[in-house]
């Protein structure tokens, strides 16, 4: 990748401490996202994708959660070591975030304008009310909100779900962040609105050159939007590849399972494929591959040691011993020691 990495996550581990012990919800994951790129993190609920995004934002609920290892580099600076005061300058300004539930993510008791202008003025305290309002209206128009001048005086409940998500996107982009984290931005929306919001995010990504980290469980969304995909399972990255690669040539059995469980209109099947078993409870698998219990290809080695990420081809990597056994072009990209 020739483009510069804006955000680099290295060996990130986020642990939750409770009376019954500690659990690494995110277990030493590393990835980077480049300028103007759309990167997706895919996985079932509980695989650690939301904790990853909250870790980047410095918003992991603490206690019980804590970043226990690794670094998060934003343009080379390690923000995981930042104080809350330093992080406040990053949040909403350099890294912004939108959430799953547009219905509840806006404060119901303040007008759209109030909340947008607030977002501007946190990071531009010297701007006048007029300048901030002008910026708010400008960004509302950019995200395709009609009648922005009137909408600014409306309360969230007067808007539809799709419009609210547009407001959320506007609020996130109002300070021109370098990275936008979108945590399941379309999950709560119906399909047509979903398509509109995804198109909007792609457009904005192209026009503003904002890198987007899209967190989703929906492979359909991934196929439509992203350039690169990371598949997470039980707190670990199990596969990472360009989007075409992952659909054409998935390497990890989990990824294969995910792709098979997407309904396809071209083939009529009586029952949709589903991966047998359940996501393991965090912290329950201590040795071996975390997917082994559900994997139809699992063999002895999978039960005793956790596979490292193997290079499959080019930018394609997967955490599976099957790759180790294939002939030629195999190299370890990280040691399997930790887990």
């Amino acid at each position: 990748m020739s483009r510069k990495a804006v955000l680099e996550v290295r060996e990130l581990e986020t642990t939750f401490f409770s009376d019954s012990g500690k659990v690494a919800a995110v277990d030493r994951i590393s990835f980077s996202i480049h300028e103007g790129e759309i990167l997706a993190i895919v996985g079932e609920s509980g695989c650690g994708k939301s904790v990853t995004s909250l870790s980047i934002m410095g918003l992991v609920p603490s206690p019980p959660g804590k970043i226990t290892n690794g670094s998060i580099l934003l343009n080379g600076k390690d923000i995981s070591k930042f104080s809350d005061k330093q992080m406040r300058k990053i949040r909403g300004n350099e890294i912004a975030m939108i959430f799953q539930e547009p219905m509840t993510s806006l404060n119901p008791l303040f007008t759209i304008g109030n909340q947008l202008i607030e977002a501007v003025r946190i990071h531009h305290p010297k701007w006048s009310k007029k300048e901030s309002t002008a910026r708010a209206i400008e960004i509302m128009k950019l995200v395709g909100l009609p009648r922005a001048e009137q909408l600014i005086n409306d309360y969230p409940h007067q808007l539809s779900g799709g419009m609210r998500q547009r407001v959320m996107i506007a609020m996130a982009l109002v300070c021109n962040p370098k990275v936008l984290i979108a945590d399941e931005p379309t999950t709560a929306l119906d399909v047509t609105i979903q398509a509109q919001i995804l198109k909007l995010m792609r457009d904005l990504n192209e026009r503003l050159n904002t890198a987007v980290l899209l967190i989703t469980h929906d492979l359909g969304v991934v196929a439509e939007t992203c350039e690169r995909v990371i598949v997470m399972y039980a707190g670990q990255i199990v596969e990472e590849a360009p989007v075409n690669e992952i659909f054409k040539n998935p390497q990890h059995p989990y990824t294969k399972g995910l792709i098979q469980s997407v309904p396809d209109m071209r083939y009529k099947k009586d029952t949709l494929y589903s991966i047998p078993g359940n996501v393991p409870k965090p912290g329950s698998i201590l040795e071996g591959c975390r997917f082994a219990a559900r994997c139809e290809y699992a063999f002895e080695r999978c039960l005793t040691s956790n596979p490292p990420l193997y290079d499959a081809s080019g930018a394609h990597r997967a955490r599976c011993f099957l790759l180790d056994m294939e002939e030629g072009g195999i190299s370890h990209v990280e040691s399997a020691a930790e887990s």
């Binding site: 949040r91 300004n93 607030e118 946190i122």
Partner: protein, 334 residues
């Protein structure tokens, strides 16, 4: 909105009517005869009968009741049997005294209670949270008359910092205009008296504020804990907002409705006159006015006094309902 207020005021009529009827019956169920009380133990039967005739006490109860209602609908609250003064003019100083004390106590209760609740929720399970909630628990379970006596013992008798009782320095009485002494002293430009009136307010104010403070603190904490988990609080933090602003702007406004309800109810109760507190601190308020009237079987004073208190209680709840719409534009009354 005006339509709604009008409707609520119309609803007030049956409520107050029912209340006057109940009070009318109950006070007549108490043994004792106003004429006997007025004339004393030595009065002759003839004198008592003559006075009963004069006061209209010999009429059947329903005649007395309708006479009373007729008076109220023509704006006449009746005359006190004891002082022979019109109640409407006599009651105001007592009401003003109660208002002043109740508002003073509620201001203390709201400032301390709301902030303690917010900080407890913000730093849930911290030592502050534990301490505040233990104190609140003690506060709600505290017998107020005992607390009042302890305050007097500690701060007046032992330390001598504050006066034990009353509304004003008796040797230098306030010249009443509005009967709100804090206002009157300022109208006269008597700042020394103003300070003195505040000193008189502190002990009964704290005694009265104790239970409301504790209830408000617990309600604010519970309500804030729920709101702090909301998505929009996370959004506000994701914008880079300071935690203080997130808590006091975004969360508090959303947590305010149940708190406001409690504040309204507690204010209404304090306006009803805190008889115990007013007695301990010799506070010439409405609670004591009615309480003394009961001793004298002063039927008109009891009836009209309770009517006014009930009216105030309902009005405060109406104000609270209107304030809901100010806080939350989604609440609409049709």
């Amino acid at each position: 909105m005006l339509h709604y207020i009008g409707k609520r005021l119309l609803h007030l009529i049956p409520v107050l009517l029912g209340m006057t009827f109940l009070v009318f019956l109950i006070i007549r169920a108490i043994p004792g005869d106003p004429a006997q009380v007025i004339l004393g133990q030595q009065a002759t039967a003839d004198a008592i009968a003559a006075l009963r005739l004069k006061l209209g006490l010999d009429n059947p109860w329903y005649v007395q009741y309708f006479d009373y209602l007729k008076g109220i609908f023509t704006g006449n609250l009746g005359d006190s049997l004891r002082t022979r003064q019109p109640i409407a003019s006599e009651i105001w100083p007592y009401l003003a005294a109660t208002f002043e004390l109740a508002l003073f106590a509620m201001i203390i209760a709201v400032i301390i209670g709301v902030n303690a609740g917010i900080i407890s929720a913000w730093f849930q399970n911290s030592w502050f949270d534990y301490m505040a909630m233990i104190i609140a628990l003690i506060g709600v379970s505290m017998p107020i008359f005992w607390l009042g006596l302890m305050e007097q013992w500690a701060f007046s008798i032992q330390l001598g910092w504050l006066p034990t009782s009353g509304r004003e320095e008796v040797r230098d009485p306030v010249t009443a205009i509005t009967h709100f002494y804090l206002i009157d002293t300022l109208l006269h430009g008597r700042f020394d008296q103003f300070v003195d009136v505040i000193k008189h307010l502190i002990l009964p104010g704290i005694a009265l504020a104790t239970i409301p403070t504790a209830i408000i603190a617990r309600m604010t904490r519970a309500s804030m804990l729920e709101v702090m988990r909301s998505d929009f609080v996370r959004t506000a933090r994701a914008k880079g907002q300071k935690m203080f602003v997130v808590v006091y702007k975004h969360a508090l406004k959303n947590a305010l409705i149940p708190v406001l309800t409690v504040v309204g109810l507690q204010t209404g109760m304090l306006l009803g006159g805190a008889i115990l507190t007013e007695t301990i601190f010799s506070w010439p308020g409405i609670g004591r006015y009615i309480y003394e009237a009961i001793g004298f079987r002063d039927y008109p004073v009891i009836q009209s006094g309770i009517l006014i208190v009930a009216f105030l209680f309902v009005m405060i709840n109406l104000i609270v309902d209107i304030l809901y719409t100010v806080i939350d534009s989604r609440i609409k009354y049709n």
